[in-house]
């Protein structure tokens, strides 16, 4: 199995895409879109993150075991965020909070 070698041209393309996305995220932040500001900002950040992981970190060309490990990291982070918010956002919904 020969090692995959990414071309400098592709790296520069990814670099330029990341710069353009940074400009877009700033431009969008200047508009008042209400709750959509956060959604758009996080979506752009996620796309940038995917570009870095797939091309700069070579996950696109790595073994499935390595890719699975990367996905597992994001998966555990999602559990952490979802379960924590599940607690914080539902406090007082079922039983009153003592002392409040």
């Amino acid at each position: 199995m020969a090692e995959h070698v990414s071309s400098p041209k592709m790296y520069v393309m990814v670099f330029l895409a990341l710069l353009v996305l940074t400009v877009i995220t700033v431009a969008v932040a200047y508009q008042d879109l209400g709750a959509f500001n956060d959604i758009v900002a996080l979506t752009i950040a996620t796309v940038k993150a995917l570009l870095v992981v797939l091309f700069f970190m070579h996950v696109k060309y790595s073994t499935r075991l390595t890719a699975l490990t990367a996905v597992a990291g994001v998966f555990f982070l999602a559990i952490l965020i979802a379960m924590t918010l599940n607690d914080y956002m539902s406090r007082g919904l079922v039983l009153p909070i003592p002392g409040k």
Partner: protein
């Protein structure tokens, strides 16, 4: 395929100087080191993840105050640092490309550019922190968000009134700002240290297309630190951009 590699290993009686005994082939060795590095990065995701979770909890609670406090940060410097970090990721990737192409001298050149870009990031960060200390935006007894106007933070009186009695909430934002960017900066310093250490074997010509695992693993770490910043930039700097034009 593995058995073929094992046979050549036995028959030749010697192997690549950078190959450890426990591996059948250089390929297997690279596979293992990459996987091991990713395992470490998973723990790093959880390390920063705790901070991101506290950010999410307080951002949902103190939504408006976070936006106002965020507008006290200089997004232009944040954007500049984003570009600097992305550029350093490009040069890091190019250092690995140089190794894959057996261009030994180019490895050193790209590593040095990466180190310089990483250092530029930290210098910009230093000026940002210094400005925050000057403007009493460091959480603690001297914290003061209102009644101060200076370039970069001048919300209209209507927005000032929203902040009355909410200094504590603004301090939470700045606590998260300092801890998250501080931990990120610490990772940058460690990364620059490792890259500097890699200059020595690179100069000696230790890395080429057959073996460059230390470059690959350091690259993974460097790109990960870039990734964290990609999320920190919009979450910390851009929340209040639409408030003051």
């Amino acid at each position: 395929m593995a058995s073929t590699a094992f046979d050549t290993h036995l028959h030749e009686g010697h192997h690549h100087p950078s190959m450890q005994h426990q591996f059948d082939s250089l390929e297997q060795q690279k596979e293992s080191s990459t996987l091991g590095m990713w395992m470490f990065l998973v723990t790093e995701i959880m390390f920063f993840g705790g901070l991101f979770v506290s950010y999410v909890v307080y951002r949902t609670r103190f939504h408006g105050v976070f936006a106002l406090a965020s507008s006290a940060l200089n997004w232009r410097l944040g954007a500049l640092n984003t570009a600097v970090l992305i550029a350093s990721s490009l040069t890091m990737a190019m250092a690995i490309w140089a190794a894959q192409m057996n261009r030994r001298k180019l490895i050193v050149v790209f590593l040095i550019i990466t180190i310089l870009l990483g250092s530029t990031f930290l210098v910009v960060k230093y000026f940002e922190y210094a400005e925050k200390f000057e403007h009493h935006l460091v959480p603690g007894p001297g914290f003061q968000l209102m009644g101060k106007t200076y370039s970069g933070f001048a919300p209209d009186p209507e927005h000032y009134s929203q902040l009355v009695g909410k200094t504590d909430q603004a301090q939470v934002f700045f606590s998260l700002y300092f801890v998250m960017t501080g931990l990120h900066a610490l990772h940058m310093i460690i990364g620059i240290g490792v890259l500097t250490w890699l200059l020595f074997p690179s100069r000696k010509g230790k890395f080429d297309s057959s073996y460059y695992n230390p470059l690959e693993c350091t690259g993974l770490y460097w790109h990960f630190v870039d990734l964290v910043w990609i999320f920190l930039f919009p979450l910390l700097y851009l929340l209040g951009a639409h408030i003051h034009h």
